[in-house]
Symmetry: D2
Subunit: 406 residues, 4 copies
């Protein structure tokens, strides 16, 4: 950080300030610095070469927006104690601390059955011990246990500062200008009633636009078929490596990655053996990438082929469709089998399928509430002439198939 | 790349096109793909967290500008054959292919005495063999051996598309808006006379602004004292690792890095043994970073301390000054020695100094020539009321000292 | 225009070129130059002070986008003759030539019963005579009479270059970043089948975003209640002035404005007496504003009060609502009447109401057709999981009331 | 202004706030609202069609920067009373209130011998009476009479918020991206010592860049030869109109313009007869433009020809050069005389010359002082390796000639 560790030049927002020493203690901690080496958008840079930004930068940006949100609320006489202000900032600063290498792409590959939010909570707890309780309140906000519940909504809901930052930032770094949202207008229109976060009625169009921008970013960028294919390839590489490890095959790996490859850790292992958490906190993209480059020359033909593919950007051909891909999958497998003689199990690494879904607006999740001019409030889907109706509230499911050309 | 491998969404320029299959063959080669994992600005992201962009992206951007430059020249009836057009694009596309991990930061650490331009030329030659002579003309342009010499000037001079791209791109990703240059206006004003690249007189102010923007980026960003300190730290880490390697100490390293750590290669080794070049072409930032994280837990206290420092962003304190730093260095060494009992040799890793210099405009380098309205031409420093006079043509030397707090 | 009359520096798109002499002949014509003095967004600058851009600039921008659209089609082997290319550019360049002072704000005030499209067509015809038939084809394109019908669709439909330019430009100049659209992506995805303009399926999200951006701009900017109030005030000023003129009251006015104030021209008058058209083509914002400033000191208390209000930005209080405003209007009139003793007729100038409506997507208008991957095509509202469904295709009606504080 | 009169959407800075009622009283005054109809850049929109922004918008922007500057000083413990804060904001808000139609273009045409700063001071005084002394302190700041002298330096010096706003704003609206300056960095580096405004040493490069950006904007934009020619044409139109008025010729004009055309007012007339000032405060661009359009059809062939020229953008051919234009002028006059038989006096309207000059850095004006790291301070031209040396401190003189083709 430039200028005495407190002002950062963020191309998205301009100069942003972190005057609170409590924040800088966390920012300078090696576990947080680690986020500098974890790409925000996984393998999306293979399609959008500008998208090399990191979880570190996103976390700082979201923390900046939290400060702005609380400043706006203060102008509306919704004031917070200094501790609340700092703790809300700490909670969002740390919200992604549990992400592993390549963010979502490997979320369920490296450590199965434990999502990044759970790891974030565990890491915040462990950090809190190191920092002598500095994060007590932040942890409550993060875990939705703090009495002023709207602070948690600012950290995690369908209109949180996390989404506001990542939509803007991902737009900026990918060059997909359509994801840009009017975050400043939305922040200005935030309010709190009955301990609930709301948006003033006159910002309905801005919120609609925010939701549509997210919808667009999902289908056009995050679930771009080539990105999806690249991330499946990465997932399959890890899967094969773990399979070989389990079979006793000696694989090169950085020591920390080696530990996770050759063990099958559960949530409980992280809770009962904190050193597992410490080791997790040393992993970043470089452990994976440096190992993949070695694996490309390894004996196992499946692993080496998959690794060469990703290094040469010779990715799976991917189809994303609302129709079934079952028949196509069968056909592709048959062709490949005939040609190369792979076993059915081995074929899984060269033809795979799955499904994905996205809500434009999720009625079951933390809702977006509108504070009406007449003093009442309602869900955004209840507003007159709203865009966000029952249709959009239904999730959209799509199937995908990834395969190599035979 | 999105949209069938030929259109890229570049946040700096918008959509850019690579319709030529000759270019795509190079872009898809693993040696070029490797540039995706080499940060354009080395360790500058420790000060400017947005600066995670890569040599890959810069190379594509510069190639785009080369296309625009040639298009503008064509409007002025300076036409090129298709082969010239493509070869000029190929030359700039490959101009940075010889960069190793962290770009300039480790340029003279990993392979001593061989700069990246020399390696680029060797790699282009080797690639040319693989590609059956596709790069014959590009290589001539790159090596300043092609008859139309201004094509080389577009690749490498004081007003080349390399600088135009990196100034704009580094500005964009650091958020230092002051580095933005009016590249489109300059491109429009390019012309060629007597086989020499020139700028029309009415663009003098734009060129002045370009030179001043570069001057600003050097002193404010590239030579930012904290960036300088971080890169010295990286250099010292490699130095120590090589020292330990030479002494027979067993260090963890990725196989490729291990090869270079435990050998002292000269230029000749690259020329006579092409496999050295091939191995070099597998190295990227991840080899270094993944190894540094392991070294931080290694036995050698000096190496482990240096690595912990960079991981925790606990960097050298750095002073950059036009005065001598000799006395200060002596004093700092004495203090540290008393406190920790390091030997004189070991102290070099915790107190080091050096000097750096930059020309605002270099009279000895490829000059910037102005095509005057009256039909004559002259060096930009000869123009009436120009900014670029003798004073600015003198190099500015500065000394720096990096040290740890005792 | 800078740089020899052919390159313009447009802050929205960068440098844009007009190399065709046929276009420059039109641009330099005083009727077209007149558009420099007609604000694109009428009185919106009273709310968005940056919105002082003009019909002139918008027309150039739309003409630039037309060129880009045709260039993209050419890449898809939908080529045009030079005459078609230029005529499509001419048609869009002239599409707003029929706008009078303050664009839409006074569209039905100065000349009743004649909309700006009709006037544009008449003026293009008259210009065509002056220019010896240069506009023959352009006129056909404009009037939807040219065989290649999609050229007209590019000029005027729900996805025309007119809308693409004004959404982007109005966003830029108002600072309402939410109106920004990915025009370059949409242009790249345009195609033509069976003489019909279509968009490729993979751009559906971009088109959705375009439609939502327009929806947002309508409700947030174009129909901003204060803008609406300011434009009603302007309408009422003209209405009162015409009323006084009809009653023989001697009003100051510029000669051209005087002519239109003291006459009640119909469409037929423009057709049969071309000099009426010529005179119309000398009117711009300055005629109205210069006169309003004088009227503010005129004897008639109603006219002078209305004019003072607009000069001091002491605008109507305006309510825009989906409910009826009838009762409120009655109440406001009663209050004002009691206080000031105005007649019922006079009260109309201080309390007025009306309704406005907007289609997010209009099923009756020129539709947006999607070229599906499977070779078929369909309306955008038929697409799977589309945003643009029956609900959004229904127009939204709102009532407004404008009144002065009593 | 949107959102209850206190927040403005400025495309240059985003949302800017004017929470102080004292400021809003001034903003809503008709004399200030008048600035909405005075173009910031005179006739520059004939070259840069985007440059239609107004003195109104610039004044708001500069006022915003003043607030930011004072906020930054406060972080450095240079605090101000609420009255000082508001008065400094009022002083800059009103600094251009004395501008007449087309800003600088007609500054010495309409009222000879009285510059706009003098008029601003007189108008602020008169406004102060109306507002019961609200502007007492602001007036002192404006007139350099307030004890904290650096407040005046922020309003008017070589590094004032006026220049910071207009460089950025003019860049934005013209599209000349090279004028963009890093105003936020400069504001952050401002400090005050011994009652003098200074910039911290580490911002030297940013200040250099600011000075070079201004230099570029002068020579490339403000003194663009076509702009210069267009403004000379405007000046000559007013000159001819006044000449005809003096000779008793009956010219159409709006009443306010008529008053100034048919009288020769001196500074004293404004001081002794305040109603002259009041009338001046009703003039804006529309009075001039509406009259010019009528004059184009007037009997006087000289006036009508000049007015047609500006309406049809058939401007003078202009040459700007460091050489003498005397011979060329003689030659052009002779040619025209032969062809049209104009008298020598009449010829002045079709061939005219003059000179203009600009300091890159003016040693005689309010200097830019650098606060050195070692505690001392010095002029920016004294800094080691500075750009701003004696050469640049010399004014650059150029001659111009404007003429019509014969």
């Amino acid at each position: 950080m430039s200028i005495s560790g407190k002002i950062i030049n963020d191309p998205v927002y301009g100069f942003i300030r972190f005057p609170e020493p409590e924040l800088m203690v966390v920012v300078e901690h090696p576990w947080f610095q680690r986020l500098r080496h974890i790409k925000q958008m996984g393998m999306a840079h293979l399609v959008y070469p500008g998208a090399t930004h990191t979880r570190f930068h996103h976390s700082l940006g979201a923390c900046h927006l939290m400060g702005k949100a609380l400043d706006e609320l203060k102008l509306k006489d919704i004031a917070h104690s200094k501790e609340e202000y700092i703790s809300a900032r700490l909670a969002i600063l740390l919200h992604d601390i549990g992400h592993g290498p390549f963010s979502h792409a490997l979320e369920h590959s490296l450590v199965e059955g434990v999502n990044h939010e759970t790891l974030s909570s565990l890491i915040i707890q462990r950090l809190n011990v190191q920092l002598n309780g500095l994060l007590n309140t932040a942890l409550q906000v993060f875990d939705h246990a703090y009495p002023r519940q709207y602070l948690h909504q600012l950290v995690s809901s369908q209109l949180d500062v996390d989404r506001m930052d990542y939509l803007n930032r991902d737009s900026f770094y990918t060059g997909v200008s359509e994801g840009v949202i009017g975050y400043d207008r939305i922040l200005q229109m935030l309010t709190v009633k009955n301990n609930e976060l709301m948006v003033e009625e006159k910002a309905v169009q801005s919120v609609e636009k925010f939701i549509i921008a997210r919808r667009l970013m999902y289908w056009q960028v995050y679930l771009h078929k080539t990105v999806l294919g690249a991330e499946q390839l990465l997932v399959n590489i890890l899967k094969r490596a773990k399979e070989l490890a389990k079979a006793g095959y000696a694989l090169f790996a950085t020591p920390a990655l080696h530990y996770f490859l050759y063990r099958q850790l559960s949530l409980n292992d992280f809770i009962t053996t904190p050193s597992n958490l410490d080791l997790f906190c040393t992993l970043d993209d470089s452990d994976i990438w440096a190992s993949i480059k070695v694996w490309a020359t390894q004996d196992d033909v499946i692993l080496s082929r998959l690794c060469s593919m990703i290094m040469e950007r010779n990715l799976y051909k991917t189809i994303l469709t609302s129709e079934s891909v079952e028949n196509l999958e069968e056909e592709k497998r048959k062709k490949l089998k005939n040609k190369w003689g792979y076993t059915d199990h081995e074929l899984n690494y060269f033809v795979c399928s799955g499904s994905t879904s996205n809500h434009t607006y999720n009625m079951q999740d933390e809702k977006i509430t509108i504070a009406l001019k007449n003093g009442n409030s309602c869900d955004i889907s209840q507003i007159d002439n709203t865009l966000i109706n029952q249709t959009l509230a239904r999730p959209v499911h799509k199937n995908y198939i990834c395969y190599v050309h035979s």
